[in-house]
């Protein structure tokens, strides 16, 4: 962190002019290299964001000019749209259940794999695979059958004498199948945790061992505190991603969010409003509330981080 005053002072005393030909060339080159990104930023990000903010105060169906309705869309969302509130409930349940579970599974497996064993990189690759596959239509199609009334899950349960329901078709359990699908994709955080575990100095663990700490004590007193920056990073990123999940809910419910809206994800309802019912002003309002929710969750994560995230260079 060099403050601006020292930078300016340095420039004044330096014999070289602040704005040399080389720097001018660099500046021009920099903006040229960034040109595609600038066009994209303006035309596909900032422009659309401004438009979407405006549309959220209008009634707009794509074919006719938008009609200004003030705060009506936002008011309707929270006071006059039970389906919207249901989509909020479903999405919050999904995020609050799947993210912590996914991180716990990822961390547990990473700890298990943090040892020298021939072929470990093979095992790591296999366990990572669901992360790459899980978001695809093919896996969602498979999930429908896996948790169907005669699917493999019920066949397995039958082996131990349990007669399982049709998990997909009953509203009490359908969301749980989507949470299981999300937890199954534990690969990315697992790989990140594993890389972090390998950075922990062996001397620290050895010192704890000499002091008589058992393996459980060593994990909670040495390993876990040192890993909290990565837990935090994964928590922030995975929460943001989970709020935007779309494909599994669409495929498993065949685009309806059913049975009885039990899998109506926020993004699915946004899609239905925007692209099936062409209420694009309303859908824009939904998009901005989603941004606010994600920003809120990220802020909560950052604020709480002061209490539980340890950075080794700070203490």
């Amino acid at each position: 962190m060099t403050s601006t005053t020292t930078a300016a002072g340095g420039a004044r005393t330096s014999p070289r002019p602040r704005w040399t030909a080389r720097r001018r060339k660099d500046a021009r080159a920099g903006y040229l290299f960034l040109l595609p990104w600038f066009i994209g930023l303006g035309a596909l990000v900032i422009g659309p964001m401004a438009t979407s903010a405006y549309l959220s105060f209008t009634q707009y169906d794509l074919f006719n000019d938008p009609v200004w309705v003030g705060l009506d869309n936002y008011r309707t969302l929270f006071t006059d749209d039970p389906r919207y509130l249901q989509s909020l409930r479903v999405t919050f349940t999904y995020v609050l259940a799947s993210v912590p579970l996914r991180l716990v599974v990822a961390l547990g497996l990473a700890v298990l794999m943090n040892r020298t064993l021939r072929g470990m990189s093979f095992y790591r690759a296999v366990l990572y695979l669901p992360s790459l596959l899980g978001g695809s239509v093919a896996i969602a199609v498979l999930w429908r059958q896996l948790f169907g009334s005669n699917g493999a899950v019920n066949q397995l349960l039958a082996v131990i004498g349990i007669d399982g329901p049709n998990w997909i078709a009953s509203p009490e359990t359908s969301l749980a199948t989507l949470i299981v699908l999300a937890v199954w994709q534990f690969g990315s955080p697992m790989v990140i945790f594993l890389a972090g575990l390998r950075q922990i100095p062996a001397e620290l663990l050895e010192a704890a061992r000499v002091d008589g700490a058992g393996s459980v004590r060593r994990f909670f007193s040495v390993t876990l505190p040192l890993l909290t920056p990565l837990v935090f990073f994964n928590l922030v990123m995975q929460t943001i991603v989970a709020f935007q999940a779309f494909t599994p809910s669409y495929i498993i419910s065949n685009g309806t969010g059913g049975p009885v809206d039990s899998t109506l994800f926020y993004t699915l309802y946004l899609y239905i409003k925007g692209f099936s019912e062409f209420e694009m002003g309303y859908a824009s309002a939904m998009a901005w509330v989603l941004v606010a929710i994600i920003a809120g969750f990220t802020a909560i994560n950052f604020l709480s981080a002061r209490r539980w995230v340890h950075y080794s260079d700070q203490s």
């Binding site: 290299f33 595609p36 994209g40 930023l41 990000v45 296999v126 695809s136 890389a195 989603l290």
Partner: protein, 282 residues
């Protein structure tokens, strides 16, 4: 974690057993689907086994052509979209990453912060105006809305990945080229680009896989069956054949995952290293 004590071979074997068990348990859904694609229809839903009683591959050719225009067309369409997306990300994100990692220009910090912010921005907030924009341009029903944004570096995540990689490349190499009289473009082309190949490969493979699996984009922009990529083709197949021919449905689901499997097998070390160092989403 190497301890000085010699480990008994029994313990090593037990660890391998545990790891194999975890792998089979994790891959169970995919193994079950594989088995279900080669056994008679009535066997699929009568046991949870992953070992087929017989191997009958007829579901694959039957499913391939069952639902016109067929999976050959869906695959080809997917590959066309992916090729465009990969080319776009490689070109635009590399250019932007070079500027952020090597060049000095006014407001660089502001632009960099803005770029990082867009990584976290939910796509839904730009979805509807983008649709209106592409609709006005007459691009709905073409692959352009799925490809052109990549040439404008909208996948900021890959800019970040490439910046991280380029920062690790020693500056002495650039300086040597500069002393030889190379301009910025030559330094980028002949010094930076060859050294960035590993990160470019990671970018290309992840772009391929994510574009290949993307469902929302094609769902919104494409309506003609002949233009469907694999995810839309598979959804159509599920609606048309899902109740009558589970074997073919599983066979085609498996086929649709094949390109992802192949890229993963070829590049798994690079992909996993990429995630470990940048914390990829997914």
């Amino acid at each position: 974690m190497t301890s000085t004590r010699a480990r008994s071979p029994w313990i090593t074997t037990a660890w391998h057993g545990l790891m194999l068990l975890l792998c089979v348990a994790t891959l169970y859904p995919v193994l079950w689907m594989t088995r279900s694609s080669v056994v008679p229809e009535r066997e699929i839903f009568s046991s949870p086994s992953i070992a087929p009683s017989q191997v009958d591959l007829s579901n694959f050719p039957a499913g391939w052509v069952a639902n016109p225009p067929g999976f050959g067309t869906f695959m080809l369409n997917s590959f066309i979209i992916c090729a465009g997306a990969v080319a776009g990300n490689l070109i635009a994100c590399t250019l932007a990453a070079y500027a952020f990692s090597r060049l000095d220009f006014p407001l660089k910090k502001l632009w960099f912060a803005l770029m990082l912010a867009t990584v976290m921005l939910p796509a839904h907030v730009t979805l509807i105006p983008q649709y209106a924009l592409f609709s006005a341009a007459g691009w709905v029903g073409t692959y352009l809305p799925l490809i052109v944004p990549k040439f404008l570096a909208t996948d900021a995540f890959f800019i970040f990945l490439l910046v991280q990689f380029m920062r690790g490349i020693p500056r002495e190499l650039d300086e040597a080229a500069e002393l030889d009289g190379a301009n910025r473009w030559r330094m980028f082309r002949s010094v930076m680009l060859p050294l960035t190949v590993p990160a470019l490969a990671t970018t290309a493979v992840f772009t391929f896989i994510w574009t290949y699996e993307d469902f929302l984009g094609p769902l919104i922009y494409l309506s003609d069956l002949n233009e469907y990529p694999v995810p839309l083709g598979l959804r159509m197949f599920m609606n048309a054949m899902g109740q009558s021919s589970y074997g073919q449905l599983f066979a085609m689901s498996l086929v649709s995952l094949l390109p992802v499997f192949i890229f993963f097998l070829l590049f798994q070390r690079k992909l996993i290293a990429g995630i470990a160092t940048t914390g990829l989403k997914g």
